[in-house]
């Protein structure tokens, strides 16, 4: 591609593709779909963390006028399989004999309207026999803990690459385990100058996407149609097919705009139940959750991370052992992926002679945990970047110099067999160090001031390693892009439409992004792992270039010249002093009813047994963070004076989009660092059951000064060196804040969130 065109591919001045739909409130989102005769479904949930269901009396609820049906675990006859989940299928579509967390689904009411459904729900009587709850991972592994499941589940083994073992349900209350052993770690440790072991606790937060979870399903004569907020329509279609024992094509999944997900709308959730209800009711059914219920659907993983790291006398990192236990909550969801990735990623952006990682997902009677923006990389970056700083201070080195000495340079494999690092970690580190502004703060009084830095890191490119797209153009030159990247806020439609407009040299307004519908959209494995730009983007880019080539060939035939001599712009072909209107040409070739020229694009990245994850990671996603803060020694309160964060977009396709991903993720991570947390109280009840109790970041939680930057290091695998940045913002913040607190006070905090109480307790402990 010529350089002149490259410059055009900055979409900086262009509005987002979805701009009008969103600022005018038009949508649509799935909740805007209304079908004739549509019924409302609402769910009755367990008030107990762990209990046996003895009996359910639905008769009074069924007698309420306007109630169509009440479904319970007795009504699963239409399903071939009654449990689902990723790798391990352990989550019941609706509970049959036991509930395993406060919020587990016990019954569903289908009624003419919401009010009737709620009224009826209050009349359902469930008798429970309470069982001992298992609220954290230590309890779950104790001898006294009950087994949360009576038997093993249908499952799919996770096959990865070299030096790696995984196991599903290997031990009591253990969902999954992952082991990776690279190098002779005992020998390396024996020769080290220092070996340090540190333990970290990572907290858990909710996704808190603003569009509550929803699914609208309808039974047609011979198939099921659904509108969902799920970001993986094709994965969902496959899961439904397996659960109901019906062909995939039986299900037509349609996706509108998705009102945020952050991982919480990936993979199958309660869609099978919505489908079951529409089949039982033989009418369209809307299953709409409240935001409280959305919070009960999935959460992030809390957990313990223990790192043992060896270093030589000159400050070279030698080896690391990583031990991670994550709280998977009641059911599998995508915990296994998070677990494997957290362990692999805990080596951070550094070189090692030996690296061993062991991680497990432990089951508890709490909200199921699963995909969460950062996907284990958040936990890993927090522990790793905390410990790197601690070690630097212990051996008397400057934390920045210590990092610089050990970073993997660009072009070197992340680990043997994995892809080469496509980011310059040092450049971003220098940038945060130089951009973090000196803040004039009072030096008297209770305030202690400090600065901290971190390089968060995760890989991009998940199991969905392929992309597919079709680009077609109507007789009048207007373009339609078909691909499976869901617009969940990340700006996928903008980036992808922009790429097509630039290749075909048409105005952006001429490109339309087709609605997502599994009947017509090219197959996609899910909008995951910040891959809309790299995977789907590449497929779209190829399709557009192929189409451009075909148009030029067509014109060349007509003009009797070589395609290479021609140029395409705004549906005209020019060259050799000629200008050809393509509308006329298409009519001439295909008749007066016109035609649609189209081309397909496909990319697939190969599996490689030598790669630790069974395939090379697509790209590397750093998050550079610098923070200046003050700690009030009397109250324990932390005040952020200045915050600088940065990402590597490779090549920026939409600056507003990239910036928004970093800043949005960063503020969520900052909230998690300082206050946001899902907790249970002494009675084992959710302490934050509603949005009223659950505190998320608001505008006044923004630091006084916050500047984000975008590097374009140009080494990504996407179009023109682009890469994804969607999860970066979560990664580096917690460690940078912990490092700054130690810089300010000499005290190290290792348990998130760093609330004033915890800060004070740590200061008191240090003073003793």
């Amino acid at each position: 591609m010529p350089d002149t065109l490259r410059q055009n591919l900055k979409l900086s001045d262009t509005a987002r593709q979805d701009a009008r739909d969103k600022v005018s409130g038009e949508g649509p989102f799935a909740g805007d779909i209304t079908l004739p005769g549509m019924l409302e479904a609402r769910l009755l949930r367990s008030p107990h963390a762990h209990a046996r269901i003895i009996a359910i009396d639905t008769s009074r609820a069924e007698a309420v006028e306007g109630v169509r049906l009440v479904a319970t675990g007795r009504d699963l006859g239409l399903l071939k399989q009654t449990t689902y989940g990723n790798w391990v299928h352990d989550q019941p579509v609706i509970c049959t004999d036991r509930v395993r967390f406060e919020g587990d689904v016990v019954a569903a009411v289908v009624a003419v309207d919401e009010t009737t459904a709620f009224r009826a729900m209050e009349l359902i009587h469930v008798s429970y026999q309470l069982l001992p709850p298992v609220m954290d991972i230590h309890e779950a592994r104790s001898d006294a803990a009950p087994e949360l499941f009576d038997q093993k589940h249908p499952n799919v083994p996770m096959k990865l690459g070299r030096d790696t073992r995984t196991a599903n349900e290997p031990a009591k209350n253990v969902l999954f385990s992952y082991d990776f052993e690279d190098g002779d770690i005992d020998a390396v440790e024996a020769g080290a100058a220092h070996v340090f072991t540190d333990r970290f606790h990572f907290s858990r937060i909710g996704h808190f996407y603003m569009e509550p979870w929803i699914c609208v399903a309808q039974q047609l004569t011979d198939r099921i149609e659904l509108w969902s907020c799920n970001q993986d329509p094709f994965v969902l279609r496959q899961d439904l097919s397996e659960l109901f024992g019906l062909p995939e094509g039986h299900f037509r999944v349609r996706t509108a705009y998705v009102g945020g997900g952050f991982g919480g709308k990936s993979y199958c959730k309660h869609e099978p139940l919505a489908v079951l209800l529409t089949m039982l009711a033989n009418a369209p059914v809307r299953l709409l959750m409240t935001l409280d219920e959305s919070m009960l659907t999935l959460s992030q993983h809390d957990g313990d991370l223990v790192l043992t790291t060896s270093v030589d006398a000159q400050g070279k990192l030698l080896s690391r052992r990583t031990e991670i236990d994550l709280n998977g909550g009641a059911y599998a969801d995508a915990s296994a992926q998070v677990c494997a990735r957290a362990a692999y990623r805990s080596s951070g952006p550094y070189r090692w002679q030996a690296y061993h990682a062991h991680s497990r997902v432990i089951r508890t009677t709490t909200i199921p945990a699963g995909s969460y923006r950062g996907m284990g990389g958040t936990q890993a970056s927090y522990a790793s970047e905390s410990q790197i700083d601690m070690i630097a201070r212990r051996i008397g080195m400057d934390p920045i110099a210590f990092r610089r000495l050990n970073l993997i340079p660009p072009g070197e494999p992340f680990k043997d067999g994995d892809s080469k690092v496509d980011a310059d970690f040092a450049e971003g580190l220098d940038r945060v160090v130089s951009d973090l502004r000196h803040v004039d703060v009072p030096t008297d009084g209770p305030w202690a001031h400090g600065k901290g830095f971190a390089i968060g890191l995760k890989d991009g490119g998940s199991f969905g390693r392929l992309g597919k797209a079709t680009v077609k153009v109507t007789t009048d030159g207007r373009v339609l892009v078909l691909c499976g990247a869901i617009e969940i806020g990340q700006g996928a439609t903008t980036v992808i439409s922009g790429l097509v407009a630039d290749v075909l040299k048409v105005p952006r307004e001429w490109v339309r992004y087709a609605a997502i519908d599994t009947d017509v959209t090219p197959f996609d494995q899910g909008t995951h792992a910040s891959c809309a730009t790299t995977l789907t983007g590449n497929a779209v880019w190829r399709a557009a270039q192929k189409l451009r080539g075909e148009i030029l060939e067509l014109a060349a035939g007509e003009l009797d010249c070589a395609a290479a001599d021609l140029d395409l712009r705004e549906w005209k072909v020019t060259g050799k002093g000629l200008s050809l209107d393509l509308k006329e040409l298409v009519r001439k070739k295909f008749g007066r009813f016109g035609f649609e020229l189209s081309a397909d694009g496909f990319v697939q990245y190969p599996k490689e047994a030598d790669a630790p994850f069974g395939a090379k990671h697509l790209y590397w996603m750093p998050h550079w963070v610098g923070v200046s803060l003050s700690v009030d020694r009397e109250t324990g309160e932390i005040h952020i004076n200045d915050l600088v964060t940065g990402v590597d977009a490779g090549h920026t396709l939409h600056p507003g989009g990239v910036r928004g991903q970093d800043e949005g993720g960063t503020l969520v991570a900052l909230a998690q660092t300082l206050f946001e947390e899902i907790t249970y109280n002494e009675e084992d009840e959710l302490a934050v059951p509603t949005p009223l109790d659950y505190r998320v970041a608001r505008a006044s939680d923004l630091p006084d000064r916050y500047q984000s930057f975008i590097l374009e290091q140009g080494m990504g695998p996407g179009p023109m060196g682009a890469k994804g940045v969607g999860e970066a913002g979560m990664l580096g913040v917690s460690a940078a804040v912990a490092n700054a607190i130690e810089d300010a006070t000499g005290v190290r905090l290792t348990s998130l969130p760093f609330t004033p109480e915890k800060v004070l307790a740590a200061l008191d402990a240090a003073a003793e």
């Binding site: 509005a15 987002r16 979805d18 701009a19 009008r20 739909d21 969103k22 600022v23 005018s24 409130g25 038009e26 949508g27 649509p28 989102f29 909740g31 805007d32 808190f208 996407y209 603003m210 569009e211 509550p212 705009y257 998705v258 009102g259 945020g260 952050f262 409240t290 935001l291 969940i488 806020g489 990340q490 700006g491 939409h654 507003g656 989009g657 910036r659 928004g660 991903q661 800043e663 949005g664 993720g665 960063t666 503020l667 969520v668 509603t690 949005p691 009223l692 998320v696 970041a697 608001r698 505008a699 006044s700 923004l702 916050y706 913002g729």
Partner: protein, 170 residues
Amino acid sequence: MSDLIALKFRLNGVGRTAAVEPQVMLADLLREQLGEIDVRVSCDQGVCGVCTVLVDGIPTTSCLTPAFLVADREVTTVKGLSGNATGLTDVQQAFIACSAFQCGYCTPGMVVSATALLAEHPSPDRQTIRDWLDANVCRCTGYQTIIEAIEMVAAQRQAQAQTTTAEAAD
């Protein structure tokens, strides 16, 4: 069934009538009965501001406001701000220029709040903007781009006002 309350009010400049049960909230009246899908609901508890509309110009969480309370009042949703079917207000345009939204679910409420803020404080400082926006949660953007959009509108309006004054003086 409880007794229905009949009410008349103006919605985005058009006179409307409705009959509602006393417990029906304004958000449900607008969305479910009148098909105003640009009014979105998230928390349904008055916490997040997603459902914000103007009632006689005052930003109001419609999920917590009983519908009968808007009798004889003027209700404005995001769709009604520009006063015509196709146009966008300067606030909406600034949201686009600043990429002040991502998933867009909070955006209608955000735009309505921002509009009311600028009506009350034509040139707000950062602290005022932050305090005001505390009524609206956005989980996607991190708020900075929203704050910038509001500042952009304030600056534009001020520049315009100056030009107008200068022209008037000529």
